[in-house]
Each structure stands twice: as structure tokens, then as C-alpha cells.
């Protein structure tokens, strides 16, 4: 049981670690794959915005 739990914890820690590293290393797609002229307003926060559930005023 200890070995099984250790494997689960290790898997979770590795996954979180990879997520942190990739987030730090990679650029957002709107930066990596478009030029400034192709971006509308505030990249990543335009049109709908980050909160898709917000009430439209």
C-alpha cells in the first residue's frame, strides 16, 4: 500500500512539476504564433475576456 501511495504522490508531483516548467518555458500561443498586428486589443483578454461567465453590461 505504501508503494502504491508513493507512486501516486510521485505521479502527481511530477505532473505538477512538468506543468510549472512548461508554463514557464512556453510562450502563450497568441505571442508565439501571431504578430503584433494580428492581435486584437489586449491579447488573451479581449473579446469575451478571461472570465467567460461574467455578466455582459
Amino acid at each position: 500500500m505504501k508503494v502504491f501511495l508513493a507512486a501516486l504522490v510521485f505521479a502527481a508531483i511530477t505532473a505538477v512539476g512538468v506543468a510549472i516548467v512548461l508554463s514557464a518555458v512556453q510562450m502563450p500561443s497568441y505571442v508565439a504564433f501571431s504578430t503584433g498586428g494580428a492581435r486584437v486589443g489586449d491579447p488573451g483578454n479581449n473579446l469575451v475576456g478571461q472570465d467567460w461567465n461574467s455578466t455582459i453590461i
Binding site: 508503494v3 502504491f4 508513493a6 507512486a7 501516486l8 510521485f10 505521479a11 511530477t14 505532473a15 505538477v16 512538468v18 506543468a19 508565439a32 504564433f33 501571431s34 504578430t35 494580428a38
Partner: protein, 336 residues
């Protein structure tokens, strides 16, 4: 007069020629460009497999230059209609087969009963590697199946909001647990490859159906029998294909080509379905299907009689090394 006649002939010839060339010209004038030009089906059908209509772009995303790729329709059709059928047949078919096998054959018992003496089958690190890979695989399988079947099976049950939230987290889990899965796969390959090389003994094991089809038959086997070797190579080859194809899905701009990306998504999806079906059989025989088998990965130690019945040559090797007790008398079988 002859001059007038020749002029008349020349004029007649000119009129005939005029009509001869004017008729097609008139037909061309009746052509309606807008009626014929916007025939998307004709345009797409004219493109052969692998063809695409591309434009010229200045943004760094080179894949955005593909305007029309007819192969994408086949790819979409595969994912929407063919893949659920392949997956459904593979997974439900395997569950049905195992259920029938359990009903017909019953649970495979330890024929001579438990000896009460244990022998170490898998060390801690081996079990750690197994559970690392297995736990990741289960999450990857469930979150992957959600992509193929979730919209049909789960969305109507939980509603759009819950399904959306669940799918988002499942997608994160799928993306990031892929890395410890790949790590487990590499370690598994390194620590078990030496015991999983196919040999002549495996042919004998296969000829006797592994001894699982009839009571009392126990073909000799070393540490891993032919069935377990089969599972090992399914995991290694299937896992490698899943990893390579998954790498392209994780980093979709690596191939820099939509067609290549679509190819790897198909490989990923088909291998996944077959992989899941194979692992269902592995889970079955390692738990419900065979008495005493789960201990190997549970505690790491198996009953000596179980080991003698399923891995007789391995037990002899361990006894020769002094790693296992020898000469245990089997207990009487309990009355059933």
C-alpha cells in the same frame, strides 16, 4: 461581271465564316461565371488526397496558411463516426469476452491450495514503477475516453457546465500525467526487458494455452510466461506509439504540417482504444481472474504454490539462489 461574281463569292464565304466562328463566341458569352465558380464540392473533389489550397501569410504560424484541406473532412469523419465504433467494439467486446470467460472457466484457483509460504515476486521499486505507470494510465484512459465518448455519454447526464468543467480538468490531467507515464514506461522497459525476451519455452506455453484453459495444466515458465511477455510488449510498443503520437498532440506545432498532425491523432486514438482493451484483460487476470495473482503487485510476495504452478522454473532458480524456501508440502485443498 466575273469580277462581281467573285466579289459575291468572297462575301458569301465571309458570312459563312462569320457564323461559323460567331456561334461558339455567342455560347461563351452566355456562360455565367458566378453560377459555376462557387461550386465548393467540385473544387474540393478536384483536389487529390494530400492536396490543399494554401495562401501566403506573414504571421509565425505556418499552419495557418492552409486555407482548404479536403483531407480534414475524412479526418473529422473518422473521429466522429469510425473511431467510436472501433473503440466501442474493442472495449465493450473485451469486457464481454472476459465476462464470458469468467462464467465458463471460473476463477483460476491455486490447484494445490495455498502453501502459506511466501516468495518475493516483485521488489518495491518494481511495484512502484508498475503503479506509477498503471495509475497514470488509468487517468489517461478515462480522460481520453471522455474526449471520444464524453459528449455522447456524460454530457446528457451532467449537463453542459459540469461536463465542461470536468473535461477541462481531465484535459489538464491528460496532458501532464502523460509525463510520469512516459517515465514509468522507460523504467519498466529497462528493469524488465531481460526477463521478457521471447524464447522456445514460450511456444510450449502458448501451445498449452498457458494452462488457463483447463484445470491441472501448468506449462513451465521462468519469471514471466508468454502471456505476461505479451502484455509487456503491448505496453512497451503501445506505450511508445502513444508517447510519440501524444508528443505531437502536446506540441502540435512540432510537425508544422496539418496532415502529419492529423495522422498522429489517428494513431493516438486507435492505439489508445486497443491499448485500453488489452489492459482490461491484464487487470482481469491480475485480480478477479486468478487467485493469488494480485499479491505479486499488492504486497510483492506470492504464495509458493502459486509460484510453482505458474512459474515453476523461476521458483527453481530462486531456490537455487537461496532466495526462496524449498521443499514445502502443499496443503490439502479446501473442500468446495
Amino acid at each position: 461581271m466575273p469580277s462581281s461574281l467573285s466579289k459575291l463569292r468572297a462575301l458569301s464565304a465571309a458570312i459563312v465564316l462569320l457564323f461559323a466562328f460567331a456561334a461558339p463566341a455567342a455560347a461563351q458569352l452566355s456562360f455565367k461565371p458566378t453560377a459555376e465558380a462557387v461550386q465548393e464540392d467540385k473544387l474540393l473533389n478536384a483536389l487529390k488526397e494530400g492536396d490543399k489550397i494554401s495562401g501566403r501569410i506573414s504571421i509565425p504560424d505556418t499552419m495557418a496558411s492552409s486555407l482548404i484541406q479536403p483531407g480534414g473532412r475524412d479526418w473529422r469523419d473518422f473521429h466522429r463516426s469510425k473511431l467510436p465504433i472501433i473503440g466501442g467494439v474493442a472495449i465493450i467486446g473485451m469486457v464481454a469476452l472476459l465476462a464470458i470467460f469468467l462464467m465458463v472457466r471460473g476463477r483460476i484457483r491455486v490447484e494445490h491450495g495455498f502453501a502459506g509460504t511466501k516468495i518475493l515476486r516483485f521488489a518495491s521499486f518494481e511495484r512502484f514503477t508498475h503503479w506509477l505507470t498503471a495509475s497514470c494510465f488509468i487517468v489517461l484512459a478515462l480522460s481520453g475516453l471522455n474526449i471520444s465518448f464524453g459528449r455522447i455519454l456524460i454530457l446528457p447526464l451532467f449537463g453542459a457546465d459540469a461536463f465542461s468543467a470536468m473535461s477541462t480538468w481531465a484535459k489538464y490531467a491528460h496532458d501532464y500525467l502523460a509525463f510520469p507515464f512516459m517515465l514509468g514506461l522507460i523504467i519498466m522497459f529497462l528493469i524488465w526487458i531481460k526477463d521478457n525476451i521471447p524464447g522456445k519455452l514460450d511456444l510450449l506455453w502458448i501451445r498449452q494455452g498457458g494452462g488457463i484453459l483447463a484445470n491441472g495444466q501448468h506449462p513451465p515458465a521462468r519469471r514471466f510466461n508468454a502471456g505476461q511477455k505479451g502484455i509487456f510488449w503491448i505496453v512497451i510498443i503501445g506505450g511508445t506509439l502513444m508517447s510519440v503520437s501524444g508528443w505531437y498532440l502536446l506540441f502540435p506545432y512540432l510537425p508544422a504540417d496539418v496532415t502529419t498532425l492529423q495522422f498522429w491523432t489517428v494513431i493516438h486514438a486507435v492505439i489508445a482504444m486497443l491499448f485500453i482493451a488489452a489492459m482490461l484483460a491484464h487487470i482481469y487476470i491480475g485480480s478477479v481472474g486468478m487467485e493469488g495473482a494480485f499479491d505479486a503487485m499488492g504486497t510483492g510476495e506470492v504464495d509458493l504454490n502459486w509460484a510453482k504452478e505458474h512459474h515453476s522454473l523461476w521458483v527453481e532458480e530462486e531456490q537455487a539462489k537461496g532466495h526462496a524456501p524449498s521443499g514445502t508440502a502443499p496443503r490439502a485443498m479446501p473442500a468446495e
